[in-house]
Symmetry: C2
Subunit: 434 residues, 2 copies
């Protein structure tokens, strides 16, 4: 297809009519499709159904002899500490295995920093005046929400193909001690699919930072979630921090939520011995211990990191065709028209789609009007505001393939319709008012 901008007025008007006809055709189907959230599909969940009768009525003892039914065991059972240690490339002693949510563990780590401070710092963050947090964008809306809720000013950092723009990051942290941390999804990043380069990892670990108690929140949510032929390689951030003499700089998180059962997974925190000791001092007051039976279920189900990786291949077989379908429809509909670009990730849960500046809200609204729900425009940006209003997050894992195909066709028609109308001077700007 040809670049829309090369079409004349007549060509554009004809195209608009064709698109409107298709759009109204979709409307008649009374669609109710949802491409909003990064949730595993029913078939993915089925992969772990064996866990639904684990550990079994006679099997409740961890390898160290702990009766997992009773109280206690603040840091988790040995096999799960080992599993997360292998996943995050640290030692089991550096791991605290928790409940069902790594998001909660990140939230609570920042709450502790606010109320009590962190090792190397100068007391509670809550007493240090207005503070800032770096948000590589587009990024994960729930990350940004935590720091917004806790009162941080959110500083947008552009995402590049190799991670956050390190020029912007170093400029932000080098002289301003009120910048306390940065959110990172370092592998198959949400939503761009980017894996941080070795250079970016090294730079994050080694950069000069004005705040003595800066923390990298390293949410390795998609560490094993690849569906391409070859997994991306991510440098070991903790090793890099140790090497640079900054071992307390990073707090690492992971969970099995998108590996086993999303609502009932197991999450973990890993960090330097000093950070772990500090966290445990507070955790011992917050809880008697995590749900060890759910940890036991996971330990038995995965066996170890090898079993986990084999299991993730099964997820990949279900996920890859869906990502291929997203790409294929967009390519078929939009290639060569110069109105959209999109990512083709090797792993993770999202496709990040960029349209012309000022057009994302209109596209999302047009799609919503005929029953195709997309993540709110701007959601992957601080304060929910996409400064260019051009990014659309596509979450293709949960819907069935027919639903994805239809949704993507609707989206492609909406993108073209908005572009054509923009070229015709008919742009709907009412959506930009809020």
């Amino acid at each position: 297809m040809s670049d829309l901008k090369t079409l004349g007025q007549t060509g554009l008007e004809a195209l608009e009519q064709t698109l409107v006809t298709r759009y109204e055709g979709f409307r008649e189907q009374e669609l109710a499709l949802d491409m909003t959230r990064g949730k595993p599909s029913v078939r993915q969940l089925n992969l772990s159904n064996a866990m639904l009768e684990y550990p079994g009525v006679t099997d409740y003892t961890a390898d160290d002899g702990t009766d997992c039914r009773n109280y206690g065991g603040l840091t988790g059972i040995p096999k799960m500490k080992k599993l997360f240690a292998d996943l995050l490339e640290v030692t089991p002693e550096q791991v605290v295995v928790g409940g069902n949510s790594s998001l909660t563990m990140m939230h609570d780590a920042l709450v502790r920093a606010c109320l009590f401070g962190v090792p190397g710092g100068e007391g509670p963050w809550v007493h240090q005046g207005p503070l800032k947090f770096l948000c590589p964008s587009p990024g994960y809306d729930r990350h940004f929400a935590i720091t917004e809720h806790l009162g941080f000013e959110l500083i947008a950092i552009d995402m590049t193909d190799s991670g956050p723009d390190m020029q912007q990051v170093t400029a932000a942290v080098s002289e301003d001690p009120s910048v306390k941390g940065i959110w990172c999804v370092p592998k198959y990043s949400n939503p761009t699919g980017v894996t941080y380069s070795e250079e970016v990892v090294q730079a994050l670990a080694g950069m000069q930072i004005a705040a003595p108690d800066f923390r990298i929140i390293w949410d390795n949510a998609y560490a094993e979630h690849y569906f391409s032929d070859k997994p991306d390689e991510l440098a070991n951030i903790y090793a890099a921090c140790v090497e640079a003499g900054n071992e307390d700089r990073v707090l690492m998180f992971a969970s099995t939520s998108k590996m086993s059962l999303a609502g009932s997974g197991v999450a973990a925190l890993a960090a330097s011995p000093t950070n772990i000791e500090d966290a445990l001092k507070h955790l011992a007051v917050q809880t008697i211990g995590p749900d060890k039976l759910n940890q036991l279920r996971h330990a038995r189900f995965f066996g170890g990191i090898g079993g986990l990786r084999a299991h993730m291949r099964q997820h990949a077989e279900l996920i890859k065709p869906k990502f291929d379908l997203v790409h294929d429809v967009l390519y078929e509909e939009l290639d060569g028209k110069d109105i959209a670009t999109w990512t083709k990730p090797n792993g993770g849960y999202f496709v990040s789609l960029d349209v012309w500046d000022g057009c994302a809200k209109q596209v999302i609204q047009l799609a919503a009007d005929i029953g195709v729900n997309l993540t709110n425009a701007g959601a992957p940006f601080p304060y929910g505001k996409d400064p260019h209003d051009h990014n659309i997050r596509i979450a293709p894992t949960f819907p069935r393939r027919e639903e994805i195909k239809l949704s993507m066709e609707v989206i492609a028609v909406c993108i073209q319709l908005v572009a054509v109308r923009q070229l015709l001077g008919k742009s709907h700007n009412s959506q930009d008012a809020d």
Copy 2:
């Protein structure tokens, strides 16, 4: 037996020798007994072993159609909301069902108050200067630890046979707005076994309080944990608060930890609509949702409040003989000697034993020296300091009956030995130094 104080010097010296002989006899047995923590026994845990293969591989859907395997559902599944509503005598809409720990839910509620304030208040507690919290004592050490950790000054309130001394409570709250709350275990209280009287509940609900954002932390941990013939009756604190026009005053908590499997239970918060709305605003940032599969396990296992109560009768059958044994040994060894008093609770997890002022540490140390571990002296008091050094908490549920019998004999011998030596002017005061 006769009051020790009626024995003459010779009688006391003879008794001391008899007790030392018994004590050394126990030492030779190389005991390793633990009466420290309120944990269910293995036989109690076995009552819930069926849950270890719940919900089963085809059974993962809640009554409202929710796939419990996936993300979402911030307030819990309907059947568990109903169960806790019945337990706490509120409506299901007032209930948020959470993870495996009511202690964590209480901790987090106070953390939210510190960081964000509560409805009716004047902003974050952390910005309101030094604050105080009322601690009916003896009470639950982990409660006091939370408020100590969060920086509150802990104000000890004496426990009476009908609940906290309300004269002390009203005096503390009526004019000092820095007093922000009170810890309550209102039924079969930890460790005294007291159930708050109707008058105390009414007084707590209706009393004049200087702080506009005072909160009663109502930890109804033992709501259904009776093992006598007839359960105690506890007045409905929420109804009393509503009646008094103070419906936002109380935050209620419960959990199944000591009903199903202690490390893998389900906990809940219940409160006024305003408080619940406030909590959810923050919880939505902290988590995507609780472990719904564990909630489903519990919903299926208990069925409803009737099934739960039937299950608790099975616990009672296992627990009651242990409490009887504690009483019987103490009665056999100490009755009439005027050296100790102890509770004979209708439910709960503890016996509270009072010895002569200044003697508890010595008794606990003597017992520990020959392998019988008791809860640290002072643990049930603010800052771990029993002002009279007279209280010993006995936790009889976890050990086997032979262990309890032996432990209680050791304790009874130690109590007598300390008392006799005190009367002989041989008291060991070294333990009082810290």
